[in-house]
């Protein structure tokens, strides 16, 4: 298993955001769904090793991330796109991705090729020399994805990756996700159920800090037969949430 989380607890002050969460993920693309405040971003941040758990165990890529050495090992093989992508506005797109490659300890000789490939995969090659501050919201998101995949990660965590992308870019992004999922474990946190339905092999549904459903996209769709919602996936999503709350 690439991701194995047991009895995970994360608390902000006295409120438990994640409360005894268990999760196991292996290679493939997994959609992380849930209503606002369910704990999606918190879970992604724990898996990205930037937030420490108050309890439970987190093993990623076979490493215990509560130990420094384990954390460092995981970070080398990790790609992460946070919900709010910060950037240095004066850097060019290429420099931003190169800088991140350096931070991820990509071997120096491999950096130029890895940067070119990452930019090509997100269709930003033509804007490689543009300053980050000149990019549109969608382009910034793509630059964020490029930095996340520049080290060819084994574990890729994407928090709201399609926010700001136009329909054409979203279609392209789903294709990219499927490619990445062939060789890595990809966890995509999103509000967009249709993204999950079309690109993800697995679905994790969170509510109130707990996993209330894990299964395939087809199982998600099947769970909502006869319920409310425009698509089968939405109907399944709503039905599972309702079921978890009753």
């Amino acid at each position: 298993m690439t991701v194995r989380v047991e009895d995970l607890v994360v608390a902000y002050r006295r409120s438990r955001v994640l409360d005894g969460l268990d999760l196991s993920l292996d290679r493939g693309v997994h959609g992380l769904l849930g209503p606002n405040g369910a704990g999606k971003t918190t879970l992604v941040r724990v898996l990205a090793t930037v937030l420490q758990a108050a309890g439970g165990t987190v093993r990623l890529l076979g490493q215990d991330v509560s130990v420094r050495e384990g954390r460092t090992h995981v970070r080398r093989r990790l790609g992460y796109l946070p919900q709010q992508l910060g950037y240095f506005p004066g850097f060019t797109v290429r420099e931003f991705v190169e800088y991140m490659a350096w931070l991820k300890e990509v071997p120096a000789a491999r950096v130029p090729g890895a940067v070119d490939e990452a930019l090509e995969r997100v269709d930003l090659t033509a804007r490689a020399g543009s300053r980050m501050r000149t990019l549109s919201g969608g382009m910034l998101r793509r630059a964020g994805i490029a930095q996340a995949i520049v080290n060819d990660p084994d574990l890729l965590l994407l928090d709201e990756p399609t926010a700001g992308l136009d329909p054409e870019q979203r279609v392209g992004f789903r294709t990219l996700l499927r490619e990445l999922g062939a060789s890595a474990t990809v966890l995509v946190s999103t509000h967009l159920v249709e993204d999950v339905a079309s690109a993800c092999t697995g679905v994790v549904l969170l509510d109130a800090g707990r996993v209330v459903f894990t299964g395939s996209a087809e199982e998600l769709a099947a769970a909502g037969e006869g319920g409310e919602g425009d698509t089968a996936s939405e109907r399944g999503y709503l039905a599972l949430l309702r079921g978890a709350r009753t």
Partner: protein, 409 residues
Amino acid sequence: MRRALGIELRRGVGIWTALPLTVALALTVLAHPREWAGDWYGWAYYLRTSLIAFGPLVVAAAAWQGGRESRRGLTELLSSASRPALSRAWVSFASPAAWALAALVTVASAMAAVTASHTSYGRPPVLLALSAAAAVLMLASVGFVVGRLAPWRATAPLLAVAVYVGMAVLTYAQSGRQYLSPGLDLFSGYVPAPWWAPLSAAMFLALGVAALLLLADGRRWWAAPALGLAILAAVPIASTGQDAFTADEAGEQLVCARGDPEVCLTRRHADQLPRVAAVVQAVLAGLDTPGPVVEQRVGPGLPDQTGTLNTLYLGADLSGSADLEVVRQDAAQRAVAWNCDGFPSPSDDSLSIATYELADWARERPRPPYGGALQGRTPQQALSLIKQFATAASHCDLAAARALLATPP
């Protein structure tokens, strides 16, 4: 590392501050050429002195760079990467530090070129200059770390003010602690003991390294040995104080030009002797100045010559040469200087005014008619009056001086 370093050097805060820093430092040294031009120790000391103005700017630039990741919302993304926090900090720190150093080296090189073209005595005290560079690195390091720990926009300006005040207080502390200040303010006649400049540089470097090590994620204790080294270096510097300095005896030896009067400059300024002697002898010609006119010397163990008759203040202009107008002015004032405490005083207005008028005449040697104390006199009579007045002044004989002025031509 090289690639990331290149990106930071091109895109970091440092490159934007390089020009303002260079201009600020250049303006500082141009405002006080007499402190350094034409003298190697003056050059090195003034590099340190100028840090009182330059240092706070370096600190502010570094603090701005230090807070950049947080202000740009990048902390989380960067800390998810495997590269240790310290190497990330080091690369980011390189931007303000390297460009501040570049500003210092640029201005120091220009100053050195001026100095080299106007002095044949001595060699550049490179270790002293390097201690200024080490101080700049330390200031950049402290600024960067404070900016990283307090990443607000107000941090940089507030820190700059705090460092300016702190450094000014330390520099003029009138105790051994003043020698710990990056902005050291010393006269060029002081020569440090051989250990002083390397120890000073080591102290600054150790302090800078200690500050940066505070950013070593989970290994902050590494800062303790570096801080210990800085303290070890600081103790002898502070406890020895001025005793670590001696007069530049070889540099203070006099080289003289014969004539009326004989004019003597220190070896440090011997290159200026022909020009200075010509000016001084023109001013004092025919005034029978007793003894040679000697350059005013300053240094530990040397007698305080301030106000002493027949000593000459040797200013320097922007080209590094002696400022001949200053020399001319000083020689004329010395010609009729009063050898008594507190004179001319406000209660002796008429003598005071007359003294200035006679000094002006000696300096300019104008054609008649004259006004004031020399009214109705010929040039020969004016010269005679000044000679007698100078004798009275050198004996502090106020009555004789008044009598001379009252005597008709």
